[in-house]
Amino acid sequence: MRLLGIEIRRAFARRLTKMVFIIALAGILAAGLTVFFKSHRTEVRVGPSATQEQQIKNDMIESCLKGGPLPGEGEGAPSAVPGPGFSLPPVGTAERQTVCVKAADQLQFGGLEDKRFHLTEITDIFKHLSVWFAIMAWLLAASFIGAEWRTGMMTTLLTWEPRRVRVMIAKVIAAVFVTFVIVMVLQALLVGALYPAAAYRGSTAGTNAAFWRTFSYVGLRSGALAALAAILGFAAGALGRNTAAGLGAGFVYLAVIEGGLLGGLIPSIRPWLIVGNAIVFVNNERNVDIRGRSPTQAILLLVGYAVGLWLIATLVTKKRDVS
């Protein structure tokens, strides 16, 4: 437990951890301000100005009088056409002019658009952000172990605690704990940053107990995904004994092997790939991205991958020389 406590302190005190947190904080602040100023207090009327509207109507009337269609006909707009069987009066007659003008007058352009920020949108925002949180967790965890190997800190530590498995357990728990806490704190701060936009310039409608419950689960799933990414990043960093190796392995696997080769060339393998299962898990919906895959199956598979890779990294660390 002492070792775990020390590793957690070290992980929180790392420069990269602080840097990533500050960058994320700046991003959250910027997002909060942007949404606040872009959100409108009321619904906004959109469409052409009154002069433009009159001009359009005049053009339509003129076209109608010359034998063209009735204004609004075939455009999905309300038509002045009285009903089936109705035919336009002949061109040049007063009746035609009456019908054309009446139809044009009934036309309505534009409408009201809701440009307000709704707090309920935050669930989708969190789902999208979960990818970035996972990348951040991978980076922090890969660096947490990779930098220690590269700088020789691991050697110093192993002269104090030679049981390598114990060290690996303490370190991975620290990495998972720290990334999970950071992600949860950042999500809480994001809610705090976006809330004023919804409360004062947008809408908080629909934020009942059920919403907050659903929203909390999304946040927790995002945190859990980040924790799994941390384990994978940690394992990759430990195997490569280098941060760059850990990050490079993650990028090459996810972007090139999984995203390109496996996903594209062997469609039948998709249910077993990381990204698809992560999407299913975060969305908490069956059949999202992978047909037939339930969120429970997805998380079990992801946990299996993460723990499996960590076990491999631990065995390699146990056996490999420290030189």
Binding site: R2, G5, R14, R15, T151, T159, W160, P162
Partner: protein, 304 residues
Amino acid sequence: MAVIEIEGLRKEFRRLRGGRNLAVDGLDLSVEHGGVYGFLGPNGAGKTTTIRCILGLVAPTAGHTRVLGSETRHLHTVIDRIGSIVETPTYFPTFSGRRNLRLLGRIDGIGPGAVESVLERVGLADRGDDIVKHYSLGMKQRLGIAAALLREPELLILDEPANGLDPAGIKEVRQLLRTLANEGRTVFLSSHLLGEVQQVCDHVAILARGKCIAQGPVADVLARGEAARMVVKAENLDGALQALTAAGFEAQIDADHILVTAPAGEGARITRTLATKRMYVSELRPMEVSLEDVFLELTKDNPS
């Protein structure tokens, strides 16, 4: 009682482009409790690899090591009685020296009082709050020694602890090592500073090409190098050389004196030889042999 026992230790490393590099070749060593034990060898002789094997950082290809009576795989049972430095130890660069030591100490439940004590002992008390990345190499080395002392260890395994230290620092470390030995601890010291080793060590082992080529008390090892040479000074060096070689001595001029290959007991014969030729000796003494001389002599056929 032996605090370090090494039997038939062999370590091979795979080369990147095939083949194997033999770092340690059947090393046998026994370090008894107490005193300072010098572990010498040219670069690449296998000193650091041996230390890494002792500390369980590297798995031997063959043979085994025991520290404080414990096999390497059970090293954790005695690790709190061992303090060590392997090459230049690394600490968190953005933490202060004091904070680094406190973190390490917490692993064993060592409190801040002990940290202050070791910082004082290595002369880092005033710089303890400085960030480690701003430390000089010598200060990092002192921090490493402080960390090694933190557990009040019975056995100190120090790999080149004087690396990067200035002469004053080297002297301080020498005194510290002697003090530690006088306190009843055993110091296993790997170093290439032979003069320092000679001054501070009670026993030495000399390693070359992964093999131990000499070991024992410093005086015994030095005796091996006393290849019975005498320093002779006389007025007419050329004449004296001629007389001595004519008398069957192996001799050569070295600066302002003649080096005669002969044991100290041959002094009388040397003076008699020269006196019969009416040449009189102004100085005659056995040549002092340093550990460096012995080391170079013993390792000249075993370059790494």
